[in-house]
Amino acid sequence: MFDLVSRLSQYNNLMWSGSLETLYMVAMSLFFAIVLGIPLGVLTTITRSGHILPNKYLNFILDGIINIGRSIPFIILMVAVIPFTRMVVGTSIGTNAAVVPLSLAAIPFMGRVTDNAILEVDNGVIESAQSMGASPSQLVFKVLLPESLPAIILGLTLTAISLVSYSAMAGAIGGGGLGDIAIRYGYQRFQLLIMLETIVILVVMVQVIQRIGNLIADSFDHR
């Protein structure tokens, strides 16, 4: 037993830096998912027919972007956008490079999650605000977003968890992080213990993210 612990602890540095890299990739892509994905979702919902700013063409385009983004398997997306990644980051290897495909996957994902969350806002509540003379932007910022905040936070949690697993895939093409470690040590050099350890860390990470997400969502939920 002590033997096992001491054998594991010799990789402590490696695991620590791997975990930080994974968290960095997840956090950065989550940031882009919030900044670009949430507006994408909001615009998609409000341009739907019967919603507050119906616009058939814009809705068709936005909904299309989300669907296309969501239908490309991440492993393919990752490879396909390499030229774009090089253009943006200057290289296709490393954590910063991995953030590009991760963000490209997270944005439409978060877009759809936001779209679904906002669609759940009761039409009667929207109408009551309209009857008070609310403008479209007041409707978005004072009604739609606050009313769907718990659902959006849960969606963000879901996105974060997907990003943890995508980031492990990004490791496979030299993205760094825990996935990278698992591939290099666990797969290529067949060091099973390292493989196991990365799995345990990933599982714990996902658990913690879900718990935190639930707690925050609950604190905003007064329904």
Partner: protein
């Protein structure tokens, strides 16, 4: 004053167009509580939702204090809407906001400063009797309390007009009563015009001054609540009234009575001081008929006594007819019940 002219609403549907409101005209006076009643699908919600343009009219105009809402730009319409409060069957409160912030919401939209809007909201919460619940969330309130919040919220911008779309339809009788009392009170205190729609004649009877009965998108009967109760003209109106004042006898009893004796069965309704007059005994003494009281009821509408009697008048035909004529000549409303 509210003036609705040639208002029409056509919904385009796959199965064909639905004309929900048909060339409707209506005027509502300032300070009045005007009720609109009709069966399901009559177009009540469509009509009231057009009054603040939540629903866009297909044609016609809606004039509030001589401003034609249908011609306003969207910016001006938003401004006009601030002066039209609305309450809803399902309350439609913001679940993410406390009572206080819900009531302050319309003021926030109107750009009133935070200090002012919280002060106003607190006053209104007191007015509707929820003083101790200002920090509760809507989910923590009963239906009646939620509607009080809805009313306080609708009053926040000091509206001239309050629209009520079945505001009491999802409440129990007790809460309904207290909400109606509240509406009557704020009408007095704030000199508000209220237009309410309902499918319950009890609501009309309790607080409305005038009523319009609407069926298939058209007003089929209109008048003071008192006149409508005293002399309903259409079968639909009679049906609505009978839900509140049930003057219909079970058909079996009617048949039985009719078979047995010569004579007529009549329904007599009488109002005001007439409720104190001894008509029946006069009838019996002077027209040699027997008057058998099958049903009697006395109620109060807008503070005036209102009675209904169903009489079985026995005697030969001429006497019975003379006695009916007598009752009519005394200003009573008499209706011969042929085939009830």
């Amino acid at each position: 004053m509210i003036r609705i002219e040639s208002l029409t609403k056509v919904y385009k549907a796959a199965q064909g167009d639905i004309e929900a409101i048909k060339n409707l005209n209506l005027e509502v006076d300032d300070g009045e509580i005007f009720g609109i009643i009709g069966p399901s699908g009559a177009g009540k919600s469509t009509l009231i939702r057009m009054l603040n343009l939540l629903e866009k009219p297909t044609s016609g105009s809606i004039n509030i204090n001589d401003i034609n809402l249908t011609e306003l730009s969207s910016v001006n319409l938003r401004e006009a809407r601030q002066k039209i409060g609305m309450i809803f069957q399902h309350f439609n409160l913001l679940s993410s906001r406390t009572v206080l912030r819900n009531v302050a919401f319309p003021l926030e939209i109107a750009g009133v400063s935070k200090k002012k809007r919280l002060k106003k909201a607190k006053e209104l919460i007191d007015l509707v009797g929820l003083g101790d619940r200002e920090n509760a969330y809507p989910a923590q309130l009963s239906g009646g309390q939620k509607q009080r919040v809805g009313i306080a919220r609708a009053l926040a911008n000091d509206p001239d007009l309050l629209l009520s779309d079945e505001a009491t339809s999802s409440l129990d009788p007790e809460s309904t009563k207290s909400i109606l009392e509240l509406l009557a009170r704020i009408r007095e205190e704030m000199n508000l015009t209220i237009i309410l729609i309902t499918h319950e004649m009890g609501v009309i009877k309790d607080i409305c001054d005038r009523v319009a009965v609407i069926e298939e998108g058209e007003i089929i009967e209109k008048g003071s609540v008192f006149d409508i109760f005293a002399e309903p003209k259409t079968p639909l109106t009679k049906k609505f009234i009978s839900a509140v004042i049930d003057f219909n006898l079970p058909p079996g009893i009617v048949k039985h009575l009719k078979e047995e004796r010569p004579g007529e069965m009549v329904r007599v309704s009488f109002v005001g001081e007439k409720t104190h007059q001894p008509y029946i005994s006069y009838l019996v003494k002077h027209y040699s008929v027997d008057a058998n009281i099958l049903y009697g009821n006395i109620d109060e509408i807008q503070g005036v006594p209102f009675g209904t009697l169903i009489l079985d008048l026995e005697g030969d035909l001429e006497n019975v007819e003379n006695s009916i004529a007598y009752l009519k000549s005394e200003g009573l409303n008499v209706e011969v019940l042929d085939n009830v």
